[in-house]
Symmetry: C2
Subunit: 313 residues, 2 copies
């Protein structure tokens, strides 16, 4: 079994490579829910949905999220009525959110719902939300006065422009891992931390104590792929957030966030010069092409990471 | 001021005539909420929406409900996912339901929401849900064993085919009239009961004690338009339900349901032969064309009813 800790777009691309790698092994993806948002009575799980849309080839590849060829009739009606429409909801996307709400209202957990959606799309892996409880990433942004925003308010409504002063994970003390999460970490021959934003996508998973505990014990079997390449984030605001919270905008910055939980770091060839410094910090370092621009490069990266995992087990 | 007690399609057509009658008078429509349904976390108010779609000319005229030229992307996605899709929700219609949910979640009442939607469509009347509390029409239908269904389950999922054995109004004891309902009935020079199903659309309004009390005092000023013409319901199952609950399928059957609250009954010319029997039951009877097949016939009916109201005030 291989377990992957996941955020959204970067994780989805990595999983795409993984499920096309003829791995012949169970894949369990533990997905961040810190970005989830309740809107208009719906429960939106952006990271889970991005993974599902990507792996089922429904995704709008240009944006990296949402459904290709999507229509926006419901949203245009919301706009006519004067409702806030900063969060783009396509009609087919809304269909999924209505389905999720339908199951949640019938008493199912977010895990159950995620399993049902994964199976409805015939995906060859298990997706598990990190927790079935409410855990939300809250972002303190600079202003007069400073403001505390939900992830989506920060990321979408404010277009991740404000300077981030702090990250808090609302509900993390009470949140228990979803069934199967700790077991997957414990029994996997390798745990992979996908190239997702370490502070915004992985840290909310690490905010759950029982997951931290399991990961600490799996440290030697855990491999992180750096989402920072050549001093920049592949996508999104990871670089700016690392910087404003005092981390280097480099694989070293990412490694510092993940340090207690990883034995190996995969970095891009353009960052090969950082190997020595990472190694002197106690990490094994794998240098390879990490840019997932085609299905071939995704499969290549998956193969490389998996072959590294073989040496650890 | 003119107050109209309303169900869905028949009431919407009558209100259409009324707002095009150059009445120069405030119109307050008190609308049934017994058909409301919570689905997928949304709050659907079919009677309110049918009135709004009809008066704003968005309605699909052929069906009498829903939005013309509607798309069904969200619903097709729900079907793919295996969710129950017996209730037809168009994408633009969903936009309205999301907006309603957004306002309800922000702490607004159904009245507030309905006012906001009415104003967003620039409609020249006030729409007030009969109550802001949860009041639901429950239908006991014949079977082995008998079943209790929500209105929408009976009407849409079962296509109003089962034989109705009883009607119950869940929550009616606790339900208070929305603000303005009793005041509108008290201060209107006429109260009109639209040609809506008396048992399914009007009775759930009458189920609220304070509304019944106000209507009893307004009896002489209250005019009902029979929804039964020539021994048949214009639309829907009113005829079968009247029969199975022991009422005549005629204006007399409708009059019997509404008897404690009306002084005048408007019947179609094809039912003129029933005038005498209705009059001997103590009602004033107005005979006119009640078939609202064009905007002209709608305005004509409104004029006829309003001129009758003039004689009462």
């Amino acid at each position: 079994m291989i377990t992957v800790l996941c955020g959204g777009v970067g994780a989805a691309k990595f999983l795409e490579g993984l499920i096309h790698s003829n791995l012949n092994e169970e894949i369990v993806a533990i997905v961040n829910v810190g970005d989830d948002e309740e809107m208009y009575g719906l429960h939106i799980s952006p990271d889970i949905d991005t993974i599902i849309y990507t792996l089922s080839d429904l995704v709008d590849r240009e944006r990296g999220w949402g459904i290709k060829g999507e229509s926006y009739q419901a949203l245009s009606r919301l706009k006519e009525l004067g409702a806030p429409t900063w969060f783009t909801l396509g009609d087919r996307d809304i269909g999924l959110h209505l389905y999720r709400k339908h199951l949640l209202e019938s008493g199912h957990t977010l895990s159950d719902v995620t399993t049902a959606i994964t199976q409805a799309h015939n995906l060859p892996l298990s997706l598990i939300p990190s927790t079935n409880q409410k855990l939300r990433t809250m972002i303190l942004v600079e202003g007069e006065p400073d403001e505390l925003l939900s992830f989506q308010k920060y990321f979408v409504e404010r277009r991740h422009q404000p300077t981030v002063k702090g990250l808090y994970f609302l509900g993390s003390t009470e949140a228990q891992p979803s069934p199967g999460v700790v077991e997957a970490i414990e029994s996997s021959r390798a745990v992979i931390i996908a190239p997702s934003n370490p502070l915004l996508s992985i840290a909310p998973i690490l905010a759950i104590e029982a997951i931290r505990g399991a990961l600490e014990k799996a440290k030697e079997r855990t491999i992180a792929i750096s989402p920072i390449v050549g001093g920049r984030a592949i996508k999104g605001p990871a670089d700016r957030i690392l910087e404003s919270l005092g981390y280097a905008i480099s694989p070293e910055g990412a490694a510092k966030v993940l340090a207690p939980y990883i034995g190996t770091m995969v970095i891009d060839t353009v960052d090969a010069h950082l190997s020595h410094s990472l190694e002197s910090g106690g990490l094994r370092v794998v240098t390879t092409n990490t840019m997932m621009t085609s299905i071939e490069s995704k499969v290549d990266l998956a193969h490389r990471v998996i072959s590294e995992a073989k040496d650890l087990s």
